[in-house]
Amino acid sequence: MSSSQSREPITIEDGIKLIDAAVTKLTRIIEGKPEPPFLPEEYIGNYTIVYNMCIQKPPHDSSGPLYEKYGAILQAYDKLTILPSIMEKHDEYMLRELSRWWEINKIMVRWLSHFFYYLDRYYIARNGIPSLTVVGMTCFRDHVYEKVHFNVKQVVIALIHKEREGQQIDRALLKNVLDLFVQNGMGNMERYEKDFEDFFLTETNSYYSRKASRWIQEDSCPEYMIKAEESLKKEKERVSHYLHSDTEPKLVANVQTNLLVSVAKQLLEKENSGCSALLRDDKTDDLSRMYRLYHAIPEGLEPVAVAFRLHVTAEGNSLIKQAEDAATSGIVEEQVLVRKIIDLHDKYMAYVTDCFQNHTLFHKSLKEAFEIFCNKKVAGSSSAEMLATFCDNLFKKAANDKSNDDSTIESTIDNVVKLLDYISDKDLFAEFYRKKLARRLLFGKFSDDHERSILTKLKGQFGGQFTSKMEGMVTDMQLGKDQQTGFEEYLKNANTGKPKGIDFTVTVLTTGFWPSYKTSDLNLPLEMVNCIESFKAHYEIKTNHRRLMWIYSLGNCNLTARFDAKPIELIVSTYQAAVLCAFNHTERLTYQELIDQLNLSHEDLVRVLHSLSCAKYKFLKKEPASKTISKTDSFEFNSKFTDKMRRIKVPLPPVDDRKKVVEDVDKDRRYAIDASLVRIMKSRKVLPHQQLVSECVEQLSRMFKPDIKMIKKRIEDLISRDYLERDTENPNTFKYVA
């Protein structure tokens, strides 16, 4: 830099001339015309002109004028060169022209900024005026962009429409053009939005609205959905190719509204191909697509979930009806029905997890559907009872047939627990299950592992209180084994040996856990009495203060019957054994004699005698030989009896205790309701009737669905027992009486 040399100041006119020359050269270069590039000296020289003119002492300090000049250069260029070229062209050519001149302009601005750089450093900063770059951009915007954007937008939208209709277009060009729109916003998206996006969205709206009306008429639901999905995909691609990313959500919403929301009802309810048809025909792919499409729309899934619920309910109801119809011919096929329900559950749960992506709405629909038909009765049997019977059969079979795969049993158990969740009378299930469990345990038909497994799972799902009694029962059996060993030790040691040489096993049950059984004052044969006595002696040594209550109705006995042809081992219940042993001392006994000797109830004796003289195996001869037992009959040991088997099991058919179970459960429910009401009132002190009832229902819903009438009756009972009283001001409200 020349420093000490005093120079002539450069006048504005001269300076401008020099600058103009430089600009002309620059223009030619950037327009691609043949022109040698700037040499480094020339480049520096241009900068220096400006520099010198700025630092000159007044009146020659030319920062202001230079700034003006800069703006003027660009303005002239825009107006006189750029704009006319663009306006000459149409359609795609116009876009290209615009794009080209936009790039050129950028280069122009950049170069000029370099020349005039010194202004940026001091003049502009000191005066707070727009920078050179900003001036450049503003110039283009005001003199080119503002004039052409409308037409450009028309062309762009037309091209997009072409692409939508399947033709290829120059995406890179569109990207550049739209980029231009964005950049001309100079910091915000307003230009892009107002000059392009708004129009684009309006056009998109009418485009898809037309498509939707046509497709919905012509296409089936799956076909329509495929088209809709395709459209959405294409539009998203469009964004990634040339639209600004801000447009995506608006565009997607637009397309969705037109293709999915406005036609939702028509689409989903299309006969033969809508939601219910797809469910009916197991079209999982189409259902998955439906989920994907409607998932993004607020509340879009609701009608689908409703259709799902209705469909599952209908399927369930038809299973129930099938079972009802089968039952009229006499057979209640619990196994079949429960299995079918389990399969139905698996099938539609798979739908929920796969097609419907585990969405809570569909879980809820499935649950509601199952709750409707799982609580229906079939031929007088409640679902609770059927499920308990199902489990009973399952475990009995599993215990007999060890070849059964454990994992299938386990998965069936899981299914049972799931089904139980849908049944509202869970306490009823527990009671039936307990009764049947007792029989399984006592007659030896059980596998400890399976029994424990289901109890653990039930406990996990429904709480310890639900399973505590049953667990106690299973534990009793375990303890029983140890006890029996202890008893046998005792017999050996006490030198008493086996009483009368009979092998004798006792199972001690804890009263609270097991269902209640009637005791009877059966007069046992002497041999058995000895057994009882020896066990009693042993037990009293082991424990104090415990009373043994003997339940003969549950015992069984292996007898050898010496028939004329050959001896046969009979496996019978204790009652039956007692009756048979009576014939050890006499050939013939009348009904009356048997009653007197054995002290059984008439009901029981009739049942026993029937099983021994009128059923499949006639160990006793009955006189007269009718089909039923009457009090005047007499019986004789049938020594002529024989069979090819060496061991015969004679089952005593169990008494039907369904009514008793229901009664017991009802009674327990009354106590549970009382307890719940008192608990609620104790903590709330004052509560209106409606709320009391609904809180009570809620508290108890884990176990059963209480009958509102029963709750009312219990409330009245509690009033008469002075636990509660009505509020004198408002008889609809109750107060706790401390």
């Binding site: 209106p688 009737h689 409606q690 009438k709 009312k712 009756k713 409330i715 009245e716 009033i719 008469s720 009505r726 008889p731 609809n732 409200t733 109750f734």
Partner: protein, 235 residues
């Protein structure tokens, strides 16, 4: 023993049966009041009584009540006896203890049979008063039931209802009684008794404002069902 005139002997008997007093004290009291029965009562009751072993000696019992009624010229089943008992806060029907009887008369400002008789029409009118009817109605439950029982026997209850709702018209009273005999056949609890009045007062005979979700006792809900069943009311 003086020779008593016929009238005086009657009065003596009357006095004895009403008060349960011994002949001797009865005689004393009557003499002291110059054979005016009403005054004799005053005298009798203001005297300290000799203790007797008979727990009923201080009570007017059924017999006495019927005598009282005939003196007042009313039927024993007349509802006004209920009102009277209410004033006296009597514990049980057809019985008055000394405290109940005297206290009640004092509160009413009555000291003679004549005055009592005059008061009867006033007592009848009290039944027309809403608040008093409410109190009398609720009082009637405790009064009409057997001592030591919690509930009111059905027949007694029906009788009381017929009586009470004759004064205070309730169009459904007959249906209610039919329903009870038809479907219920058990005693009536206190709560049901009390709530029935509420029902009669607030729910119109067409049941248009009956709230099925309300806290009505079970029996009343059943009654409504019965009315629908028998097409007495349209649902």
């Amino acid at each position: 023993m003086h020779k008593l005139s016929r009238t005086n002997r009657d009065k003596l008997q009357q006095f004895v049966s009403i008060t349960g007093a011994s002949e001797k004290s009865a005689l004393q009291a009557l003499k002291a009041s110059d054979w005016q029965i009403e005054a004799a009562f005053d005298v009798f009751y203001s005297q300290p009584q000799p203790k007797s072993n008979d727990p009923y000696s201080d009570m007017i019992l059924a017999e006495g009540v019927s005598v009282l009624c005939s003196e007042l010229q009313v039927e024993p089943q007349d509802i006004v006896t209920l009102v009277l008992s209410w004033h006296m806060n009597a514990a049980t029907a057809c019985e008055f203890s000394k405290e109940e009887f005297c206290g009640g008369l004092l509160a009413l400002g009555i000291d003679s049979i004549g005055k009592l008789q005059e008061k009867l029409s006033f007592m009848r009118s009290e039944l027309k008063d809403e608040q008093k009817f409410y109190e009398i109605y609720n009082f009637a439950f405790g009064w009409a039931k057997e001592k030591g029982q919690k509930s009111l026997a059905l027949d007694t209850a029906i009788g009381m209802w017929q009586l009470l709702f004759a004064e205070r018209e309730w169009p459904l009273v007959n249906h209610w009684c039919d329903f009870l005999q038809d479907r219920h056949n058990k005693a009536i609890s206190k709560d049901t008794w009390a709530q029935l009045l509420e029902f009669a007062r607030t729910v119109n005979p067409m049941l248009s404002n009956y709230d099925a979700e309300g806290a009505w006792p079970y029996l009343i809900d059943e009654f409504v069902e019965y009315l629908y069943d028998k097409s007495v009311v349209e649902k």
